[in-house]
């Protein structure tokens, strides 16, 4: 359930919980800077301790095996279940057309790619730079948002794997550098996608707030002056009420320290580049590019966005979303290119499920397989196999033709170089020819 989110536990915090750390142990390079103004000594032991931490760690869980490349993965989670059939529209398929008569887009609202496929007009600006993977999903789908979000976050195709970490989190665990924050989630809180066993991850506050804080350097200084003592006091924290209050007290204290560390770095980012439109997704992607350019070891970005649960008013709502997506992505790709990052970044979408082929009126109910989009270091085009709209199950849904885990293997192993068994899951294979590596 979405209501039971697992805390993100950083390596530093894990070690602290295990009683293995003291002082500023393991504070990431990003965060260590937080204290360097007032107390240069506080940051110094970090690297030394972290070496010890790594050794200790290897007795429990394996040290990173991945051969490090400089690749960066940006996953845009289309929340609510994106209609893959309205994203890459199989408009030449007569069976499909019939099922969608009620919500069919007018010809001038689509951009035709060939005699069978089209994209909604809003995707037109990036269509030629996109790779589409059709009908991605799981073999035994469920139609609950919350069940399927969990499976996608964890790369757990049938919901039986008992993972305590997320797929992106496991990628971070395999790829983490010695000190750096490896994973970042944008906007609304954190999701289970980025829960790690050992790597440090952070969730950034709402992007609006970030830019507001970034402009206010005095605020940042005053806050740090008032609060910098919290992260450095190590003793006398037990309330004597019980284990859970003490655990939460420690979590709150450490996260406040992380937050203040972030603040210091945020103030370095400067203004949002002007080329981006002023939309939520654009703001997140602009910030992503700025953070990548800090070069502090962030490798995985998770950008949850949107409300794709188009049970009603689908033609209008989905077109608008595709419009925002297309414009934001176009600005992001151009920005990456201008900053010499075009070959280092892969953008990929996920979504808990697609929509039902047959419209329910003015919208579509929960489906199974969905079309995923990739950009950046890809060979544009269409991948996977089109679903057969004549073969629908008792719920009216089609079967997936590419498995979620193969899709994930392409991201985690094909692109980031993380071992597949530890990330997407055993037996998953990279989609052939998709990546430009």
């Amino acid at each position: 359930m979405i209501t039971d989110q697992v805390p993100q536990i950083s390596r530093r915090r894990l070690l602290q919980m295990l009683g293995l750390s003291t002082g500023a142990l393991g504070a990431s390079s990003l965060l260590a800077g937080c204290f360097s103004d007032s107390d240069p000594a506080a940051a110094a032991p970090a690297s030394k301790q972290a070496v010890g931490a790594k050794q200790t760690k290897s007795s429990g869980r394996a040290a990173p095996k991945a051969k490090a490349n400089d690749h960066i993965l940006v996953v845009i989670e289309l929340k609510g279940g994106n209609d893959g059939f309205a994203t890459l529209v199989p408009y030449g398929d007569g069976k499909f057309r019939k099922l969608r008569d009620r919500i069919w887009l007018a010809d001038d609202q689509m951009v035709k790619l060939d005699d069978k496929y089209a994209v909604p007009k809003g995707l037109g600006v990036v269509a030629e730079r996109l790779a589409f993977v059709e009908a991605v999903g799981v073999a035994k789908p469920d139609l609950s948002h919350f069940t399927m979000m969990q499976r996608w976050w964890q790369s757990d195709p049938d919901g039986t794997s008992n993972y305590s970490t997320g797929f992106l989190g496991r990628c971070c665990d395999e790829l983490r550098g010695d000190e750096a924050i490896t994973g970042v989630s944008m906007g609304y809180g954190s999701t289970q996608a980025l829960v790690t066993a050992s790597a440090s991850t952070v969730s950034l506050p709402q992007v609006d707030l970030v830019s507001q804080l970034a402009k206010d350097e005095p605020l940042e200084k005053r806050l740090r002056t008032s609060l910098q003592m919290y992260p450095t006091i190590e003793k006398g924290r037990s309330l004597g009420i019980g284990e859970e209050p003490d655990r939460l007290i420690e979590l709150a204290r450490a996260n406040m320290g992380d937050g203040l560390g972030l603040l210091k770095n945020i103030t370095k980012l400067g203004e949002r580049p002007k080329r981006y439109p002023d939309t939520e997704l654009s703001r997140s992607l602009a910030l992503t590019r700025q953070l990548i350019s800090l070069n502090v070891g962030m490798k995985v970005f998770h950008v949850p966005w949107g409300s794709f649960d188009t049970h009603d008013n689908q033609p209008g709502a989905h077109s608008e979303l595709m419009n925002e997506f297309g414009n934001a992505l176009a600005a992001f790709l151009d920005d990456l290119a201008d900053n010499g990052l075009a070959d280092r970044v892969l953008v990929a979408t996920t979504s808990e499920f697609g929509r039902r082929p047959e419209a329910n009126g003015q919208g579509t109910d929960h489906g199974t397989a969905s079309t995923m989009m990739l950009a950046g270091a890809v060979n544009p085009g269409r991948y996977g196999t089109s679903p057969d709209f004549g073969k629908r199950n008792e719920d009216g849904n089609v079967a997936a033709t590419t498995s979620m885990t193969d899709y994930y293997a392409t991201l985690g192993t094909g692109w980031l170089g993380a071992p597949v068994d530890e990330t997407a899951g055993k037996g998953s294979t990279v989609i052939d020819g998709l990546l430009r590596v």
């Binding site: 359930m1 209501t3 039971d4 989110q5 697992v6 805390p7 993100q8 929340k79 609510g80 139609l143 609950s144 948002h145 919350f146 069940t147 609304y188 809180g189 952070v202 969730s203 950034l204 506050p205 709402q206 804080l213 605020l219 806050l223 002056t225 008032s226 609060l227 003592m229 919290y230 006091i233 190590e234 003793k235 006398g236 924290r237 037990s238 309330l239 009420i241 019980g242 209050p245 939460l248 007290i249 979590l251 709150a252 204290r253 996260n255 406040m256 992380d258 937050g259 203040l260 972030l262 409300s307 049970h311 009603d312 419209a359 329910n360 009126g361 003015q362 109910d365 929960h366 008792e394």
Partner: protein, 419 residues
């Protein structure tokens, strides 16, 4: 060490109201061993705060937001206000999609009316509520093309929980719920028989011609309904899940009372375990925000704009804007680095409006700050941090500057992040 009356009172007021305020902690704590039971009596006895009638007909979000936040800040709201908020999260509906503040206003009225009333009555009202019908796409659903959204979530999230129904039950329910329409102009909900089923379906093992009330009745007859709701309320108030044995007893009582909410809540909170469950869950942003408003100074209902309710958007918990139909999540999200950073920046930027802390003669500033913030169980580390903050600003600054530094430090303390 046994908890002090202040600690117990502050706990009761954190959980059973949007408090605490220093005044209320004082009032009950003076009763010594009876402090916590008096505070519980007070919270349970609170009468509903009214919706501001001036908001009716206003489509602008702002007056509605301020109206609700004013109620949250009013210490007299007690448990009633706390449960009103619970139902907003349970029957989550977002203004972003509904786009009609009048409808959200009316829906909030339902939460206020039934906050501690009858669950079945509230559930049935919500299933026919204009805002909900739009939010979950049931408005204009027809038998020809039934929309499954409300049918699904009415089981998964509102009453039974996963695993207690089938996809076929969802289809049946969607058929039975078809035919309702919402008029955007008048905001009235009407039934159009032409789009309705008018025939029989098989739903959760029963065959019949069911209307929305029948659907709600059948859902409430299911053995999974009472435990699902009771467990969720228990978690909200106690911070952890009940044991199976406890849950069995609570659910039996809830069901046999005909789904009366007040006796269920009383059974949960008049219990040793409730008093022991102190600081065992994070404060939601809304709880932290209102508690910080109390800490900045006395409640001033006439002053417009003394706090900034739109900050709640940056804190991820803006009224009328839950993230999705499951409402706001619980758990460690509310302690994340980003949440902490947002709280810290708000606390500092707001603190210049505070009423300065007056230590009086003979008492120290740190004690006065902790009292103002109702922190009555405090770690040595936090005390030391506050002492440092007081020392660092001693001598140089005016009273307000010292107070700002102290209050910001206290509102950012680990203790103040917990409920």
């Amino acid at each position: 060490m046994a908890p002090t009356p202040q600690a117990l009172t502050a706990h009761v007021l954190r959980r059973l109201s949007f408090g605490p305020t220093a005044e209320l902690v004082d009032r009950f704590a003076t009763q010594g061993p009876k402090a916590s039971s008096s505070a519980i009596d007070w919270a349970l006895a609170a009468s509903p705060l009214a919706l501001n009638p001036e908001q009716v007909g206003k489509e602008d979000w702002d007056p509605h937001l301020r109206g609700w936040v004013d109620n949250l800040r009013n210490p007299n709201g007690g448990l009633h206000e706390k449960m009103t908020w619970f139902w907003h999260g349970h029957f989550a509906t977002s203004s972003e999609k509904v786009g009609q503040q009048t409808m959200l206003h009316r829906q909030q009225g339902l939460f206020r009316e039934h906050a501690l009333g009858n669950f079945k009555t509230l559930f049935a009202s919500i299933m026919n509520d204009a805002a909900m019908l739009i939010y979950l796409d049931s408005a204009d659903s027809t038998v020809e093309a039934p929309n499954e959204n409300l049918a699904r979530e009415s089981m998964e999230l509102f009453s039974l929980g996963r695993g207690n129904y089938s996809e076929a039950d969802i289809k049946s329910s969607a058929l039975a719920l078809a035919g309702w329409q919402v008029d955007y102009e008048s905001t009235q909900v009407t039934y159009n028989a032409e789009n309705g089923l008018g025939g029989e379906v098989v739903f959760l093992g029963r065959r019949g011609k069911f209307d929305v009330n029948d659907i709600v009745n059948i859902l409430c007859e299911q053995p999974s309904c009472a435990p699902f709701i009771a467990a969720k309320i228990y978690r909200y108030l106690v911070g952890v899940a009940p044991s199976n044995e406890q849950l069995g007893l609570l659910a039996d009582g809830f069901r046999s009372s005909g789904y009366e909410i007040r006796p269920l809540v009383e059974a949960i909170v008049r219990n040793e375990e409730f008093l022991n469950a102190r600081l065992n869950r994070p404060r939601y942003a809304i709880e932290w925000f209102i508690a910080s408003a109390h800490a900045f100074g006395p409640f001033r209902p006439d002053e417009d704009g003394d706090i900034q309710p739109w900050t709640l958007e940056q804190l991820d918990q803006l009224p009328f804007k839950p993230p999705n139909v499951a409402g706001w999540p619980s758990g460690a999200k509310w302690l994340s680095a980003s949440q902490q950073l947002s709280r810290a920046s708000y606390a500092w930027s707001q603190s210049w409006k505070m009423t300065p802390i007056d230590a009086g003669s003979g008492t120290d500033l740190v004690a006065a700050t902790l009292k103002r913030c109702c922190i009555h169980e405090v770690s040595a580390a936090t005390k030391a941090t506050l002492h440092d903050a007081a020392l660092a600003s001693a001598g140089a600054a005016d009273a307000l500057s010292v107070s700002r530094r102290l209050i910001t430090t206290a509102l950012c303390s680990p203790e103040f992040q917990l409920a």
